[in-house]
């Protein structure tokens, strides 16, 4: 006589998921002074804004899950957002077998386990997508906040470079700056 039986398999897994997103771009630094002098000015300005110098000369600052790295020599900016989470997922499946015809209990259990593994992979993939979305969102938000600051850095470096250049050209008689319009007037006696 054929007898049916039910197998229930439950699997749980824990994985460390990581996601990141980054953009690379170039600062537009005008060549008012020789490149090495411009790099020094940029480095000084970045230090004032909380950037730390690394062994390779890049200036790095970490803000709320985002890392901003600027190479003062090339002007290359890299902004990277990283997110990580330990995610637990559980999956459960049931299967019915028969004691006479059809797959035996061992092969049925293996088949269900295989399906469970795929279920878990799918769930982790969904979590990974969510985490990726978070990293991208954080990066986009951070870029919006960073943009005025970077513009400020570039403007400040340009102003400092112009002042230095003026000093090299002759005696600076007068310097007037308008913070609103961003204009800088330097009178030099040559």
């Amino acid at each position: 006589m054929s007898r049916a039986y039910r197998i229930t398999v439950k699997e749980s897994e824990s994985r460390n998921l990581k996601a990141d997103d980054e953009i690379c771009t170039q600062l537009e630094i005008l060549e008012i002074l020789p490149p090495e002098d411009m790099a020094t000015l940029l480095k000084e300005e970045l230090k004032k804004r909380g950037f730390g110098e690394q062994d390779d000369g890049t200036m790095v600052r970490k803000d709320e899950g985002c890392t901003v790295a600027i190479d003062p020599c090339s002007g290359e900016v890299t902004v990277k957002a990283e997110t990580a989470a330990t995610v637990n997922q559980e999956a459960k499946r049931e299967a019915t077998g028969f004691n006479d015809v059809g797959p035996n209990e061992k092969s049925l259990r293996e088949k269900v386990k295989e399906q469970l593994k795929q279920d878990l992979d799918k769930k982790f993939d969904q979590e990974q997508t969510k985490l990726q979305g978070k990293a991208t969102e954080a990066l986009e938000k951070h870029l919006q906040e960073l943009q005025p600051e970077i513009s400020g850095v570039v403007n400040q470096v340009t102003r400092d470079a112009l002042k230095q250049k003026a000093q090299q050209m002759g005696t600076v008689k007068e310097i007037s700056e308008d913070a609103e319009s961003g204009s800088l007037t330097i009178k030099v006696e040559v």
Binding site: D21, I23, L27, E28, L139, L143, S151, S183
Partner: protein
């Protein structure tokens, strides 16, 4: 005709047979395919012949070979003449400008096209095999090809690329993948679609000998092609396709311009300058290129940005051309490159290169994150606004 006349011209070719030549069914198909490849036969019917296999004969009849030679010679010359060879233009020859049509500038022995065995082998293979389900592999060593062969294979690739099955097969063959003319005419199609970074061939040989002459003839043709491609980019909806196409175009043009500079043949990069001038006729935003992209694109911002940058592959080349112009400005009367640099400056001014470069730069920079208006840019923009109105603006 008098007997004496016949003795006086012993090398005369045998008289043409009256009426059309007799060819076998295989030869008939082969000739039709050849005519399709050189653009003298409808594409849909030509591709039908390419998809239909026929049993390959032991050899071709002398008449059929004659017809192949005749078609190749006439069609190639006609194509090159129409593509731009007829134009009364100036190109560099021994670093000096040489004016005139191609047949005025270049001696006959330097522009005589020679086709070699791989062309006929390719035609035989194309006629005998169902290309996308081929039993017999065919390919030719790129180094064995003559300049005329390379041009023929580039035209053949262009004719057949509309069929995705055939394109997949052709993309695996060195004859096309290592052919610089294919890369300059169709970079997006010749590059491997799944490749992370497209690998164009070395463009240095294109700037010497007969290949350079071919490139001179192709300048107008290339300008039209690239302009059409640029204008069609706004219709591309698939992010992946856009990225692949842009990446292929970018590496192809970078390689090409690098080789042109090294060979001091900046005149052969006119099509890049003119394409930009055609496309950037007014101030443009990146939307012109990326406006057709559907959906929000890849989840990562890095990938989205990379795709958008790739879309502007052609305007991004203006940066290189600007450095050429900058250098040309400083070449003195007694320098070796004076004539060449004068010619480049004339080309640059003819298309208002400074304005085109400024527009290209503006469009490229709009994509770049963290590029806020600096004080200098704001002032310059204010000056511009006071001095002139952008093209197409109402006031």
């Amino acid at each position: 005709m008098a007997k004496g006349d016949e003795q006086a011209r012993p090398d005369r070719a045998p008289p043409e047979p009256e009426g059309p030549r007799q060819v076998t069914k295989f030869e008939f198909n082969l000739l039709r395919i050849l005519r399709f490849l050189v653009g003298h036969f409808p594409a849909d019917q030509g591709l039908q012949f390419v998809r239909t296999p026929l049993t390959r004969p032991e050899c071709l009849s002398a008449g059929a070979v004659e017809l192949v030679k005749d078609t190749l010679s006439k069609a190639s010359v006609l194509f090159l003449t129409r593509a731009g060879g007829w134009r009364n233009d100036k190109y560099l020859r021994n670093n000096q400008p040489a004016p005139g049509r191609v047949w005025d500038r270049i001696p006959l022995d330097e522009r005589a096209l020679q086709f070699s065995r791989p062309v006929l082998d390719f035609l035989l293979w194309l006629t005998a095999e169902k290309v996308h389900e081929t039993k017999q592999a065919w390919d030719a060593a790129p180094k064995a090809l003559t300049p005329a062969d390379e041009l023929f294979f580039a035209l053949a690739f262009d004719a057949m690329r509309s069929d995705p099955d055939v394109l997949t097969v052709l993309r695996r063959k060195d004859t096309f993948v290592r052919n610089p003319f294919c890369w300059i005419m169709n970079p997006a199609d010749v590059a491997e679609p799944d490749g992370n970074r497209p690998q164009p061939p070395d463009f240095a040989p294109v700037f010497a000998g007969q290949r350079a002459v071919l490139l001179e003839c192709l300048q107008t043709h290339l300008t039209v092609r690239w302009t059409r491609t640029e204008r069609a980019k706004g219709q591309i909806g698939d992010w992946r396709k856009m990225r692949q196409q842009g990446a292929a175009e970018f590496v192809a043009l970078q390689g090409f311009l690098g080789a042109a500079e090294a060979a001091r043949r900046t005149d052969l990069a006119r099509f890049v300058l003119r394409t930009n001038a055609q496309v950037l006729q007014s101030d443009m935003t990146p939307v012109f290129w990326t406006g057709g992209l559907q959906g929000s694109g890849p989840p990562r911002l890095a990938d989205r940005l990379e795709t958008q940058r790739a879309a502007l592959a052609v305007p991004r080349q203006m940066e290189i051309l600007e450095t050429w112009q900058e250098r040309a400005r400083y070449v003195g009367y007694f320098d070796d490159d004076y004539q060449a640099s004068q010619m480049w400056k004339a080309d640059w001014e003819a298309v208002n290169g400074d304005r085109v470069a400024a527009r290209a730069r503006a469009a490229v920079e709009m994509l770049e994150p963290l590029r806020g208006p600096t004080a200098a840019q704001t002032a310059a923009a204010a000056d511009r606004a006071a001095g002139e109105n952008p093209e197409g603006s109402p006031g």
